[in-house]
Symmetry: C2
Subunit: 249 residues, 2 copies
């Protein structure tokens, strides 16, 4: 498939032309079209390729500039601003901090909220505990390069892991928090990956705009004896990340 070919835009599809074009251009940018220089064709040429008026292309570019994907300079042109996708390894020893080491400068894990709640059906099954058992649920967000990258919801046994919310808040890392609670090591037991349109919470927490895509990974971690210790659901901003399986992960 020729990635440079803009492709036809669909009218009366319920999505405004300028938004369709913005979505397509976001794709093109993350696919590395526009080459080394990152310079986009002039607006008039883009308008012609998409088969729309220049005003419509300008609306699309305005959104992408606001998102930080593009940068416009009067008289010079429009340029790609975004960095390449981060590569997130998934495997037996999946850990956020290790996985992205070397790919990004600052990495910050922030505790958004924590609360106690009884185990629902899905979580209880994943953790191998009775339904209704007391759990601690952590809502966290992680940033890379100064922008939100993913948000996670994780569930722990409230008795065995009492105080993990405070430990996480202090360390900003699940691995470190578990270590404070006596878990020296753990492994990933299973991971399930799906993809969706970003929901309202994603738009807010990950600072996305409507129509953005999120990768959703649900995983179970177990201690070295094989007992499940946490169930977590992580939502990644799909534009910024790829999940890598195998290859020494």
């Amino acid at each position: 498939m020729d990635q440079m070919t803009p492709g036809k835009i669909q009218r009366r599809s319920g999505v405004a032309l300028w938004r369709q074009i913005a979505d397509r251009m976001r794709q093109l940018v993350s696919a590395g079209a526009f080459g080394e220089t990152g310079k986009l064709p002039p607006e008039l040429l883009l308008a012609e390729q998409f088969g729309v008026n220049r005003h419509t292309v300008r609306s699309a570019i305005a959104l992408l500039v606001q998102e930080g994907v593009l940068r416009s300079e009067q008289g010079r042109g429009t340029f790609v601003q975004a960095r390449p996708r981060l590569s997130y390894p998934i495997g037996m020893r999946t850990r956020f901090s290790d996985g992205l080491a070397g790919q990004t400068q600052e990495r910050i894990g922030v505790l958004i909220s924590s609360q106690r709640e009884p185990a629902g059906t899905a979580v209880a099954q994943a953790l191998g505990i009775p339904e209704g058992a007391p759990l601690i649920r952590l809502e966290t967000r992680a940033e890379a390069d100064g922008r939100p990258l993913m948000r996670s919801t994780s569930w722990f046994d409230a008795i065995r892991f009492a105080g993990i919310d405070d430990s996480y808040a202090a360390t900003g890392s699940i691995t470190a928090a578990l270590k404070e609670l006596g878990i020296e090591d753990y492994t990933r037991q299973s991971t399930t990956v799906t993809a969706q349109l970003a929901d309202i919470g994603d738009l807010d927490i990950l600072r996305l705009s409507p129509g953005a895509v999120v990768l959703v990974a649900e995983a179970v971690d177990a201690d070295m004896a094989g007992w499940p210790i946490q169930f977590l659901r992580t939502r990644f901003s799909a534009d910024r990340i790829e999940l890598r399986i195998g290859q020494g992960a």
Copy 2:
């Protein structure tokens, strides 16, 4: 997160209200809201919850009916039509036919097109061959339960695997086609997963509507000696599938 809460709809966002509502309802359906019966609240109630007119909700429902997600019956109500997500295992021995065995009735692999082309940078690197080396590219589509589930582009060394297009067309299976060419067994070497909005080709081949999401898996298969034999890029309709890693995959 309360899955039943419709969430706020944004006006003037470049996405029509009926499409935002359709996207949200598609999510709710695949999250298993609407319970065992699969019966949706009446249009008037939905309209009230979303804060729009009944006609707007009807436009959203009309799209989902056309997609096969919902089914409307005059006088009775509107019901969930979609089946649960298929679960696709990713691991050393990933194979389409084995992976989905037992989950779906009919499974058909169709050859859309094939052609010879020189190796591009990415493919050459993945297959460990010189750039510009002759390749055979296969475009295929697979259906499950009578609806398109995924489409794949795969690249093979044109010399070693001459005639694989005919073999695939005849058998409808990569595994079978490779066996005809003397490859008795092979393993998955690596997989990379991303997610995007469906592009024009996806909309056409997978029969999706604009705003749909696709899971993209890029993988390298190697023979038992560890030599790469194929590079493939598979695009799954994200609504219909989840990728499962670990757990005996």
